[in-house]
Symmetry: D2
Subunit: 365 residues, 4 copies
């Protein structure tokens, strides 16, 4: 039946009697818990992603004081588990979700505080903008947290945090909470109320075992779903980005685009993403450079680690400063321009859709 | 800070002034689009999956007449695209979703009707309970639909349907619409208003190319994300299940459990699931047999193809008859008992969570 | 040091004293078990493969009577294990190898004879040109052998053969004996002197479990290194090739080239080759058609199952008749021309070099 | 036909007439290029690997002076290509092979010498015992060679060497020449007579791009057959081994056995072996420690990087000193005992047989 025939049929059907019968049918559908596709298809199956989530920017200047105030009023402890305040997308009211799959939060630990141990199927990481003095203990291995570091908590690894210093510390938490919650894949278990290993080594066991480039302990060889290298240190990230720019100047490959260096945090046992469900990367733009505008069906979150610039986020454009956090829904055009050298941490749900053969990405200029 | 200390701290904090400050903080959080984890963790991160979706059963005796009534009142055509009525889970009000990831519907095509061609990133299949006379045309290849057959529409394959007979035909549609919609991975494109190939061959090109067991055309060798064998015929399914029971009687392996035969529809280019995001299987219980109770973090939908029996679905138990459809949320105990030989078709989201290292399954007795 | 400098240096070095010292050095190298690369590089590291193996053709008219004579003179039994006579490449004297990696033999079983059970790490198959009455018992599963069938014995599967008929039977055996022998990967174990299961079913358990296209027993799901579908029947092979020609006539894809149909025997649990180390395929050329000349770094063996034609094999050209066997060394140009419809079975070592990233193939016209 | 029947049949057959016929048959077999399995099976298909290659040890004290003498007598240049002298296994006379698949050689470059560029499908590496001053240029990227470093030349990468110093330098070369030669997979191409990039940077481009642990350039992401990290530096290897011993002392996992640290050089894009066909590892035993005796179907070569000890190699036992090289055929029992701290580099063909599902390894005590 062609589109023309459809319209003809619709005319024919357009009688009061027909309308009454249709009304009755729809009422019966509802009673039976049935929904016609022809009334919902456009919303369910759009021509391209039409996220309810919206592009959004949070200012570090707003986030940090709010987190600090909570430390005066709310303890960290068993039950609440973490003094983490999530950044809820304004397009997803009611849900404390940053995008439909990702959960970003600022976590804050007061001087000498412990966050108790637990584990969950959700994958997690911490990215440190500033401060130090906290060790996160991952399956019994204490991991120092310092500015620019990425620290992993793969799914089902026990973890707690302790602040051994006399200053508070805040950082960005990233988890796949919305994905796991909405698909009912969450399991959770309490561990000890205090972290099981209170030592504060410079380097974690994970780094000592896995931290030499390309070297794998023979005793531990074999693929794992998430990276056993729990800490990715700023010195390494910075060196890798610096090298890409130097190589660009020498005419050698390495950068993602002109003036645009980028590394991905990967799992040395597989070469894939460091975490199973989230891609984590760090991007650097030279002062004056711009990234190529693109859009992807993955959603992402970005945080400015350092520098100033602007972001084009769909139709909008925003000034960026240190610590600002951006939510980028699926299929939203994205480009950055650097006023000074601009350093950006980002995470996304791309690995999920790569594995499901759903991911699409295209340059928009 | 231990649980005990937490309670002490809470006492200390328990003053009118503290409450006022807390109230103010929460108001400021809300204004900033921030949500404290300590107020939401239990809902977001349960000890085990706590689906909003509920176990539910739809009677074929209800579904078919309602679908038939819609054929008299609503045309199939461009825009609405399909006369498909989805089975909405009562626990997911507002969303026409059968589970949080799966969409099951009854589709109905009147005599001589066409459903226009389109394509979408959503994966789809049809499972035929009864009737014939419809050819689904997948990327130009007309595929006959007959009782017991499973017909695939992998993501982004053009497809339309035509009924060349003088009788209506209804079948079960399965798609990953909720997963794709909630994660913003949907792309959609219209094709011709009428199916591009109106021939009605007994066997599709796909079956002629890929339908001999273990034989691959050399010209087409190599892995594909979804099965190129678009049609899985009832005669093969029935023969495979029959053979499992015969082997069981001979003391040879093959059955899933005593009196319980089961086959999975697979992709001959990879050995994996026929579709990227959905597992499709057919189970058969001997009269008097029972399946082992289990629960899994995958959600699923089951349809009785033939026979009578009962289903234990969480705490509930239901009689089953031919054509009945069941929604099984994550982590819901499930077991079947067969009064007569009981034939069951099922699909689930298990491949998604297998790929993400999230799937959990356990026997419950 | 450039080529020019090298020659200059050689001149300088070209004195009697130098020659004497060099002679002494080479003698000392030899005593130390050392060999200079500069004297051996051209042979060790040629510009392209320079096989010692040569193209060769064996006539079925010669092979079969010789095998039959051996049945009158040599028993089959424990120790010798098989009445199999291998086709030794004339370019590989001393080694009973058909190519450097492949071993092809004619195996012959007299009426009512048993070949005792054993197992080995070598992968094996039987391809049947003519005759019937033998069951090969693979890990206790009796598998009928009939013309056009391919029967697998994956590495380390116990297997024996029994002829239950009053006529002798001969077939082509293919193994990776040279590869395994030259790399010291062989393990071998005796089983029972007589096959453990003397039943003679029409269909093996393997076929009953795995023989429906695209259907996998749920209880046995998961990848395996070799195909669990032990028998690939002629009726299926013939139907698949016939369908490719019909599709070619309809303008649909499927054939490997004009008038050239080809199927690969594959492992349904992975989509890869049926055996770990050997690729097995069946090719059919229409009367009058020719395959495209090509060469590949894989070596292969071909047997004419039916029909007449010619083969271009490097610089040579041969008439082909039913049963003739051809050895094709690496990088030897190969093309077939069909006088009548020409049916060809073939096996090669291509999977080995695909896995090692070494395989190269190119069309030569 | 059972074993008993076989013997009976043999008696029956044991007549002069029978012997004459058999003699005639075997003559006809030979004329036809056919070899009976029953006469060759024991050699072709042994109960376990029976290598022709033998365990062997070469003294560095012998190798180095011989290599030095060759530098006075033989130029390096186009044609001969390399001043590399291979260590030929005494059990493999005629072939300059260290094991049936592996080729180990000492390569020697005089002051200011160049080895011209070429490329080949063979995979190669250099391991440096002592000396410096040479840069190997891999696909245009100059890579410094220093003691303890492993430098890769993946298959088909152009490479040449230049000595920019006034001292000679020698190192261990490892290649899969025998495997590639015996299976006819060799392709070879000349490059420039002098290395194309004469710069002598401290760090290669490869290290600058890939040398930060777990960090991948986004622009270069994706799996590759061999490691893009062309240089594995001694400082990293030493640190990784030191860490394993420290962790052992702390009771944490990491070592391969008591007092036995070991790392594998891996490909960061896949987590697999650094080279496609060869496994490369470095082992360290504490003074007084011993490795667990084992045997494997892989063959291997070991070089003492530092320290003293003994090796048990099959039935034999040898003293080990710095630089000594050992050939270990398949299925030969192997164990080391350390007098001082004992540092060992090793390479093997294990990845080949892992990929082919043939590798077997077992502890022998």
């Amino acid at each position: 039946m062609t589109g023309t025939q459809t319209r003809t049929a619709a005319d024919t059907f357009d009688s009061a009697e027909h309308q009454a019968k249709l009304h009755e049918l729809y009422r019966d559908f509802e009673a039976a818990g049935m929904t016609p596709l022809w009334l919902t298809r456009e919303g369910l199956m759009p021509f391209h992603p039409q996220p309810r989530a919206v592009p959004h920017l949070w200012r570090w200047a707003d986030l940090l004081p709010l987190a600090a105030r909570s430390a005066e009023l709310v303890p960290v402890g068993r039950g609440g588990e973490r003094r983490a305040i999530s950044l809820g997308n304004p397009g997803l009211p009611g849900d404390p979700y940053t995008t439909p799959t990702l959960w970003a939060a600022i976590q804050y630990l007061a001087p000498r505080e412990d966050a108790p141990e637990h584990r969950h199927t959700q994958s997690a990481f911490r990215f440190v903008l500033e401060g130090e003095g906290v060790w996160t203990v991952v399956d019994g291995d204490p991991v120092a947290m310092r500015p620019g570091d990425l620290l992993l908590t793969p799914g089902w690894a026990f973890h707690g945090h302790q602040n051994v210093s006399d200053t508070p510390m805040a950082w960005l938490d990233g988890l796949d909470i919305p994905l796991v919650a909405e698909t009912d894949q969450g399991f959770f278990e309490f561990g000890p109320d205090q972290v099981r290993n209170r030592s504060t080594p410079e380097r974690s066991q994970a780094e000592r075992l896995w931290g030499q480039p390309g070297l794998t302990p023979v005793a531990l060889a074999g693929p794992r779903p998430a990276s056993p290298l729990v800490a990715y240190r700023w010195a390494h990230t910075d060196a890798a980005l610096t090298a890409q720019f130097e190589l660009e100047a020498e005419g050698a490959p390495g950068v993602l685009g002109p003036g645009h260096a980028a590394i991905r945090y990967t799992n040395p046992t597989s070469g894939g993403d460091a975490l199973t469900t989230m891609r984590t990367e760090f991007h650097r733009l030279r002062a004056g450079a711009a990234s190529r505008p693109y859009r992807t069906s993955a959603s992402s979150v970005w945080q400015v680690f350092n520098g100033d610039g602007t972001v084009q986020l769909g139709a909008g454009r925003n000034q960026l400063s240190r610590g600002d956090v951006i939510a980028v829904p699926a299929w939203t055009e994205l480009a950055f321009t650097a006023a000074t050298q601009l350093d950006l941490f980002t995470f996304s749900d791309a690995p999920v859709f790569e594995k499901l053969n759903l991911l699409r990405t295209e340059l928009t200029t």
